[in-house]
């Protein structure tokens, strides 16, 4: 382990620096696309309502739309370097984008973590069972399950769950994060965590009920990806030399399964990290179906309004999150895979 540390530190620094050009390219790309897209923040909000032409010009001035493009580009970029994501241009105007991110990101984080856990648990269990009982009807059914699950169209699947559990069985709410009138002190922004920390049992149960359907919808769909991956990697390991030697030595079945799994886990971690990072951008389909006030719905709304600053800020934030998560994944990778050296 000692030999790994300085190499690891250098690796982290290098990866950290690589984020900068990534963000730059992404920002430039988004900036240009937004400016090429017809419509601007003022028009998107005014629409066809009557407004005197001088007033329209004044509003465009306020939103900084009359400044030359390179100036708009540079001033926002310089802001990002100071961790200033700018202010919203419309509806409402002048609210720091960072305030919105602080408000909406915890919602996405809560949903992402819950869905992620569900998808990993289901995926790994089905993958292991599939691998262990390979060739049997169980294996075939689980593989079909994984394909079906991954192909499910989230809004449709979500609506079915909303209908069955929300409307027919009246068990769970159809949307939102918490029932109106339930008071919860906000510390982390993660309702389930906050309610535990403040020992608020009713809020905990209420927020958990709201979290269940969306995370189940997203979790089931994503689990499909893991099943096959875990299965195939486990099979590779199960038929390998070292497992056969374990069997020959008479080591018990469940121990063999455990060792095989630890080895098969490595490629899975990569996929897990990638999926988690992408989810942090706001699982847009899930959030819009379940009226979940996270980053996904935020970006969709802001695109309708052509709120350039909010869209740019949210996307850059997302890129930073993806960079961070993939860095963590790589570090975990390094720690659990003894073959990796820096």
């Amino acid at each position: 382990m000692v030999s790994k540390v300085p190499g690891l530190v250098r690796y982290i620094v290098v990866r950290g620096l690589m984020v900068i050009p990534t963000i730059l390219v992404l920002y430039t790309f988004v900036f240009l696309i937004l400016r090429v897209l017809p419509g601007d923040p003022v028009l998107a909000v005014i629409g066809t309502r009557y407004i005197p032409p001088e007033q329209l010009e004044r509003l465009r001035e306020l939103a900084g739309l009359n400044k030359p493009l390179y100036e708009q580009y540079l001033s926002y970029l310089l802001g990002i370097l100071r961790f200033d994501f700018g202010v919203t241009l419309v509806a409402p105007q002048g609210v720091p984008v960072w305030d919105y991110i602080k408000l909406r990101f915890p919602a996405t984080l809560e949903l992402t973590v819950a869905a992620f856990l569900i998808s990993v648990i289901i995926g790994i269990i089905t993958g292991i069972l599939s691998a262990y009982f390979r060739g049997t009807i169980l294996d075939e059914s689980l593989r079909i399950y994984s394909v079906l699950a991954y192909t499910l169209f989230i809004p449709w699947f979500g609506m079915i769950l909303q209908y069955i559990f929300g409307v027919k069985l009246q068990l769970l709410p159809t949307g939102g994060r918490i029932s109106p009138g339930v008071h919860l002190e906000s510390i982390t922004g993660l309702y389930t965590v906050d309610s535990i920390v403040t020992l608020n049992l009713s809020a905990f149960i209420d927020s958990l009920k709201h979290l269940l359907l969306p995370s189940l919808t997203l979790g089931i769909v994503l689990s499909g990806a893991y099943t096959r991956l875990v299965r195939n990697n486990m099979i590779d390991v199960l038929v390998s030399e070292f497992v056969r030697s374990y069997k020959a030595r008479g080591i018990r079945e469940w121990k063999i399964a455990l060792y095989s799994f630890k080895n098969a886990f490595i490629p899975t971690v990569t996929l897990m990290g990638l999926q988690f990072a992408i989810l942090l951008g706001g699982a847009i389909l899930t959030e819009t179906t379940f009226n979940w006030p996270g980053m996904g719905t935020f970006i969709v709304d802001r695109i309708e309004y052509r709120d350039y600053n909010s869209i740019q800020g949210a996307i850059i934030f997302f890129a930073l999150m993806v960079g961070l998560v993939s860095l963590i994944v790589d570090m975990v990778y390094a720690l659990i895979d003894p073959r990796v050296r820096y």
């Binding site: 066809t48 079915i160 709410p173 939102g176 309708e304």
Partner: protein, 541 residues
């Protein structure tokens, strides 16, 4: 061998998959298509059920609140919220088009129509007990003028100066005499706001409110807004103490929430198909509100072939409004033959008188006159926007295409663009014929005619229409105070509209409120703003 049968495994697995799919389809068909009646416990038939009023009512909407500041709010739903937590000097009597005293108990107009004096009621207070005087009225209106936000023109186009003569007297000096000033005065930019509002800037998340029947207890942007009764309101207490407004993303989410019982009222934006279903479901009531919003076709008089008046007239003649209403929007509209809505002063069915509906004969004659034939058809691109006015827009466009092509002399290509893009194209004058809608700013024929037909005011519409005679008539109608003279002027203007056809009115919308059984007291208003203070819900005690 599987299960003792001599059947190969792939077939068994395949059959299992098919069964699974059929199961899912069955679930979808039986459960998702039809809504459920809300579950109610059966009441014993011996004694009458005891009822009591619910403390709280939950309203579901798919709109958003933009700025809780009348100096900048210019969208329909925010105006509705502001109209419940604030009040103006005058207001509309619930359910009617009559203007009645609000914060002002009476008023006077000078002989030349330029000076309006309002006398406030005594003992007015904001929602936290702070006294409301004439100086607050003046401060609020001057604030709107200074901040100069989106709706500021409603003040600055009319008002030159506003003064507080004393604690209870407000005087407006208008730029020109305006016959419909009271209608304009009833709009939110004129509402007095609490002193906490930032004096020089838009205060979008400010919850201090004004002096209306409710006050804002809590506002979580894009999630919910909670209103509670204002203890200091001068008028009658609202029927329900607490109103929660929940924001939903789309009509389907709204419908599901209503069926689940998460909301008591679904306001306006349910799909017409869903409204039909609720009509037939016990446990729900559908309330129809005659809307004052209009839908129409715009023709770009500067772009060939629409620069030819005869072509525009031909299109006006062909359209069959009832057909569109029945087939495209499930009956949720009334045929409209003028830009001025039915029921408003001056309304004339000019398009009906001149062209009728589905007048294919006349259309074909006009088109031939313009040089078109079966081999040389009029080729047009009909544009619409797929979500802004609701999901039914594509149906409207499709029916119109069918109607136009039925003449045998027109060939139509349908095109669409998302709202912000659509608006940009229109303002740039790039579209030739397209569908639009209009929600009024204030209820007066001026608001339905001037912004469309006056050459200085109609740039937003992209019709490029300019007619000096029309300009003159509209300007005169604005400053005439005599109502019958104004009516005559608008009748003249409508006749010119039907002759020049820069716009073809299609229908006047109907709004639907779907409520759970037990919800009463909804008084729909022609302003289409929903006043919550008369609503209550009766529940079993």
């Amino acid at each position: 061998m599987v299960l003792g049968l001599a059947v190969s495994r792939p077939i068994v697995v395949g059959v299992a998959v098919i069964v699974l799919i059929l199961l899912l389809l069955g679930v979808y068909y039986f459960y998702v298509r039809a809504p459920t009646a809300p579950t109610t416990t059966p009441t014993p038939t011996t004694s009458p059920p005891l009822v009591k009023r619910a403390e709280q009512i939950i309203v579901g909407v798919t709109d958003k609140v933009t700025d809780l500041d009348p100096a900048n709010a210019y969208d329909f739903f925010t105006w509705e919220v502001l109209s419940n937590v604030m009040e103006g000097l005058v207001k509309y009597e619930p359910g009617t088009l009559n203007i009645i005293p609000g914060l002002a108990e009476r008023w006077e107009v000078s002989g030349d129509g330029r000076v309006w004096t309002f006398y406030l009621r005594s003992n007015l207070k904001f929602a936290d007990g702070t006294p409301l005087t004439a100086r607050d009225v003046v401060r609020s209106i001057e604030r709107v003028m200074k901040i100069n936000g989106d709706p500021a023109w409603l003040v600055t186009e009319f008002v030159d100066k506003v003064e507080a003569k004393d604690d209870r007297t407000v005087v407006f000096y208008l730029k020109n005499p305006v016959g419909y000033f009271l209608a304009v005065l009833a709009t939110p930019p004129y509402f007095p706001v609490h002193p906490s509002y930032k004096p020089d800037a838009v205060d979008s998340d400010q919850t201090a409110g004004g002096a209306g029947p409710y006050r804002i207890a809590r506002f979580i942007r894009d999630v919910e807004i909670i209103l509670e009764e204002n203890p200091y309101y001068y008028g009658p207490k609202p029927e329900t103490k607490r109103v929660v407004i929940r924001f939903y993303r789309d009509a389907t989410g709204l419908r599901l929430a209503l069926e689940r019982g998460e909301i008591d009222i679904a306001w306006r934006t349910l799909l017409p198909q869903d409204v039909e279903v609720f009509r037939k479901t016990p446990g729900y009531k559908v309330i129809e509100v005659p809307g004052t919003f209009i839908r129409y076709v715009v023709l770009n008089t500067k772009m060939p072939p629409f620069d030819n008046k005869v072509v525009r007239q031909a299109i006006a003649a062909v359209l069959d409004r009832s057909d569109i209403i029945n087939r495209a929007i499930f009956g949720s509209g009334t045929p409209l033959y003028s830009l001025i809505p039915i029921g408003m002063m001056g309304h004339l069915d000019v398009f009906k008188d001149r062209y009728g509906d589905k007048n294919i004969e006349l259309a074909r004659n006009l088109l031939r006159q313009a040089g078109y034939s079966e081999t040389n058809k009029l080729k047009i691109e009909l544009w619409y926007t797929p979500t802004h006015y609701g999901d039914t827009e594509i149906y409207i466009a499709t029916v119109i295409k069918e109607q136009l092509e039925a003449t045998g002399l027109i060939s139509v290509e349908l095109k669409s663009a998302e709202w912000a893009t659509y608006v940009q194209f229109i303002r740039e004058g790039r579209l030739g014929i397209y569908l639009l809608g209009w929600y009024p700013d204030y209820l007066d024929p001026d608001n339905y005619m001037y912004p469309f037909l006056h050459s200085k005011a109609n740039k937003w519409a992209g019709s490029g229409y300019a007619n000096t005679e029309m300009d003159r008539i509209l300007e005169e109608a604005q400053i005439t105070v005599d109502m019958s003279k104004r009516e005559k002027l608008y009748e003249q203007a409508q006749k010119i509209l039907a002759e020049d056809v820069p716009y073809i009115p299609l229908f006047q919308g109907k709004l639907y409120i779907v409520v759970r059984e037990g919800v009463t007291g909804i008084k729909p208003s022609p302003t289409m703003l929903f006043f919550y203070s008369t609503v209550y819900k009766e529940v079993k005690a």
